[in-house]
Symmetry: C2
Subunit: 165 residues, 2 copies
C-alpha cells in the first residue's frame, strides 16, 4: 500500500467529517459528536484557524487522518504540537499508515520550530502505549488533566470578580 | 487587596518574563527556563500569536498571571482554552488572586465560544486538586500525556516515510 500524506484543504471537509464520525463510532462515542461541516470550515479554514489536518491516502482513497494544533511551552519559549486525533480505518490498520501520519506530524513540528510533540492516551490502552514508547514517547505519568465544561464553565466564568481590559 | 485583571500587551514582556522565572523558581525548575524576551514578543505579540496572557495587579503592582492558548475539540466542533501557567507570587497568596485569574480565563472561554477550559495538575498536589474540584473541575484520570521531544522528535520526524504536500 503506497501511502501519500497531504495537508487537508476546505475541499476535504466532508472527508474530515467522515473521519471524525468514524473515530467516534470506533470509540463508541457517536452520540458525543456535535460538530458540523460549518464548524470545520470556520474553525479550520477561516481567518483564525484553530487546527490543521493531514490526510493519508492510498491509490487516491482516504485511509486515515491526523488533526493537531499548537500549544506553547513558556519554559522552552517555543510552540509545540498537540495531536488531537489520529485515526486509520480499522480494516486498513497494520500497514504503517498511523506510523506515517505520526512521523509526518513530527516533521511538521520540527519544521515549525516546535520543542515538543504531545498527545494523550488512555492508561489501559497497552498496545498504544507500547507503540508510542517505541516511537520515542515519554509518559508524563504524574500529570492529570482537569476540565471545566458546560454549566460548571458558565458558573466559573460568572464567579470571576472585578476585572477590566 | 483590590485586584484588577487585564490583558497583557508587549509592554508587559519584561513582567511576563519575570513571572515565568518566578514560577520556575517556585517549582525548582529555574534551570529549565530557556525562553527570552524575544521569544515572548515573537510568539505572543507577533503576526501568529501562540498564546494570550492576563496580568493581575493590586495598587498598580503585579501580583500574578495566567497564560493560555486555544485547543480544539473535534467532537464538540468548538475551540477550548488550555491554561499553561497560573501563578501568584507566594507572599500574596490566599487573597483570591488565583481564583480571580481562573474565573477570568473561564470568562474568556465563554466569550470566545469555547466548549471547555482545561489545564493539568500533578497527581500528588492535593491542595490544588481540592481547589480545582471546588471550582467545578472534573479530572480525566484515565488519560496520560505522551511527549516526544529533543532527539526523539528529530528521529520520529526523520523516520516519516514518503509524503507530499
Amino acid at each position: 500500500m503506497h501511502t501519500v500524506i497531504r495537508k487537508a484543504t476546505c475541499a476535504d471537509i466532508p472527508q474530515i467529517l467522515a473521519f471524525i464520525r468514524a473515530l467516534a463510532e470506533y470509540e463508541h462515542l457517536s452520540h458525543a459528536v456535535q460538530l458540523s461541516a460549518e464548524d470545520l470550515e470556520r474553525d479550520g479554514f477561516g481567518p483564525r484557524p484553530y487546527f490543521e489536518c493531514l490526510i493519508a491516502e492510498a491509490n487516491g482513497q482516504p485511509t486515515g487522518y491526523a488533526l493537531y494544533f499548537f500549544n506553547y511551552s513558556t519554559f522552552l519559549g517555543k510552540p509545540g504540537i498537540y495531536l488531537e486525533d489520529l485515526f486509520v480505518f480499522p480494516e486498513l490498520r497494520g500497514k504503517g499508515v498511523g506510523k506515517a501520519l505520526l512521523g509526518r506530524v513530527a516533521a511538521e513540528a520540527v519544521s515549525r520550530n516546535c520543542g515538543r510533540f504531545e498527545w494523550s492516551v488512555l492508561d489501559w490502552n497497552e498496545p498504544a502505549i507500547d507503540f508510542y514508547r517505541s516511537q520515542g514517547g515519554e509518559f508524563l505519568n504524574e500529570w492529570r488533566i482537569v476540565r471545566v465544561a458546560g454549566e460548571a464553565l458558565t458558573r466559573l466564568a460568572a464567579a470571576n470578580g472585578e476585572v477590566s481590559r
